[in-house]
């Protein structure tokens, strides 16, 4: 497989340089764009396997760029956000971004996210019938969840919640998305439902619910199912 192409859309030269340098040292093929317009030109020239998009771009709101991108294809998008951009970060994820990194971040975190996203994107286009993560295995068709090979009994709500996370393992699913999917569009503000059911689910699945191995928290953003 040839080196994956990564488009880094970031207007701060310092960050753009360090991100591109570490991506190429890790065997990827990065290109840099400092505006949305430049990014569109680069994409028109050659599609990318992964986009890394800063939320504070000078010419266009990163969120609307991501929404437009999602209208065309499913190229994975990693969002870079500063502390003051919490709300935009969640909007970006709701708009279809796959994951985020809060600045400041280290190279280790960056490469881990980038590799995981490329791996997921490169996997079979159709999700396999059975999902296996660590000691968990999940049969998508029958919605049967097994831990160490033993069936875990889930209530219909818990099963729906797990199914929503298992649809895209590794991807951050926002509170809003989970509530809409499991409880319905009019319940998207009832965050405490989600807290309580996630608590139930964790006691059934996790060895120590306070330090989860599978059902991971993205504080203030949402949850994700570990994919390795």
């Amino acid at each position: 497989m040839s080196a994956p192409s990564v488009l880094v859309v970031e207007d701060e030269a310092g960050i753009s340089q360090f991100v591109c340098a570490s991506l190429s040292a890790a065997g990827m093929r990065p290109r840099a764009a400092s505006t949305v317009a430049e990014a569109e030109r680069e994409l028109a020239r050659e599609p990318a396997d992964l986009l890394i998009v800063d939320l504070g771009l000078p010419d266009e709101d990163g969120v609307s760029f991501i929404a437009r991108l999602r209208g065309r294809d499913q190229t994975p998008v990693l969002v870079l956000s500063a502390r003051a951009q919490e709300p935009q970060k969640i909007e970006a994820l709701d708009a279809g971004a796959d994951d985020y990194l809060a600045k400041p971040f280290g190279v280790g975190e960056l490469l881990a996210r980038a590799r995981a996203m490329l791996r997921r994107a490169g996997a079979a286009p159709k999700p396999s019938a059975t999902l296996t993560v660590g000691e968990l295995s999940y049969d998508r068709a029958s919605r049967e969840l097994r831990l160490h090979g033993e069936l875990v009994r889930l209530t219909p709500r818990e099963a729906a919640l797990f199914d929503a996370l298992a649809a895209k393992p590794g991807k951050v699913i926002t509170h809003r998305q989970l509530l809409a999917q499991v409880w319905g569009a009019e319940q998207v503000d009832q965050l405490h439902y989600l807290r309580v059911y996630m608590g139930h689910l964790r006691t059934k699945v996790e060895a120590d619910p306070a330090e989860p191995r599978y059902l991971l928290t993205e504080l203030g953003v949402g949850y994700r199912l570990a994919d390795e």
Binding site: H192, Y193, G220
Partner: protein, 498 residues
Amino acid sequence: MDVAKFFDGKPALAWVAGLVAPAAATAASLALDDRLSLAGLSMVYMVAVAAASAALPRAQAAASALLSVTALNVGFVPPRGSLSVDEGEYWWILAAMLGLSLGLGAVMASLRAKRAEAETARARASELHRLGEAMAGADGPDAMARAAAAFLSKATGRPCAIHLRENGALSVFAASDSESFNERAAAWAIENGRPVGAGTLNWPELSVWCAPFSRARGIGAAQVKLADDDKPAASEAEHWAALVRQIGLTLERERAGAAAAQAEQSAKAEAARNTLLASLSHDLRTPLAGIVGSASALRSQGADMPEQQRARLLDNLEGEARDLSLMADNILQIARLSQPQTQLATQWESIEDVLGAAVARMRRRWPDASIRLAVPHGLPPVKVEAGLLAQAIANLVDNAARHGGEPPQVAVQAGRARDGVFVAVRDHGRGLPEGDPAELFARWRRGESSRAGGSGLGLAICQLAAEAHGGRVSARNCEPGAEFRIDLPASEGEEQTA
């Protein structure tokens, strides 16, 4: 006596009563004629006259007295049946009776007038008092002015407005917006410190009555709208003026109080800013010195260094930079939480998620430290701002890792408290410094033996964050080490889940 009030405004009825008194006395005297002398009969008439004086207005009482004396003269003074009088003694009786009757009437009338005056004064005093209460119930100068206008309208029975002058602009407050008022009259009254309009010496032809709050300090005036031929009596206008003075005093007190509170708040904010700047210049320099030093050492001598030393310098570089990042977050939060009435973006969160995020962050920062996390199952969700609370707890863990022994051991624990949940962070270090534990949270105070820098802002953030959530922080020594604890109240409206 309420009989006197009964005849108020009913002069015809009073005239009739004035006739009835001598008639009744004459009837009684006819019946008692055989048994009483003339002196006794005159006493019967005196009773009637006294009753009329007590009950009737002055004119009717006087007429009743004259009629009684005439009836006694005609009916019973010899020769009976005529106005003429036989003996000098009878003249004396009639004269004394007439004098007494008229005198009694005059005394009674003046007593009644005094009592009415006293009653008016009492009613006006209580009105002043109620005005004070009505204004005290309102919040802020505008609402107070509106309440005062409404009160004045009720007290005067006419549409009223309060005019306030602030920074040269005049604003009007009235009980109802439909009335329009004479702003020029109000402006004149405020400017000149004198009342204006009907019933005053200035422009008495205007159909308003307008008086300033005070002679000198031109902050406002009150206006009473009058009908075309309406004009307050002197005593009424005096009472209105007293009400207006009271309104002025109350508004002025409110303004002075608000100004003092604002001055105090800005002084506090100023002091906080100064302490923050002083603390920053120190706290920022320490990690920056480490970063510049490590980076320049690696650049100029890195090639000659043993691998291990290079790795240590790189560790320093990253650690100090992460400290700076934590400090930047802390400074932002201090600035935000020091604002009066900061709004938190609270959400339903599970305490284990918040603790998990804080601990994960600190495990990355302190890879050598042992940070244990214990959260019992089934804690209720709490309504908090997750990022802020996680930051506060990360600061406690950071603090514990710095002071927590070698290598640091930190235990993070959550649980149910009497009326909410608590989070406790315990280390295995040398315990708290001497002195009051509450002092530790005083902003930007630094512990004496801090390891590898670290910002004194951390504990201050914890305190501000806990208080912003309606909770509190505390610190105590335990064997070994120290424990810092955040108590959060149970969130209201904890709803049942679907």
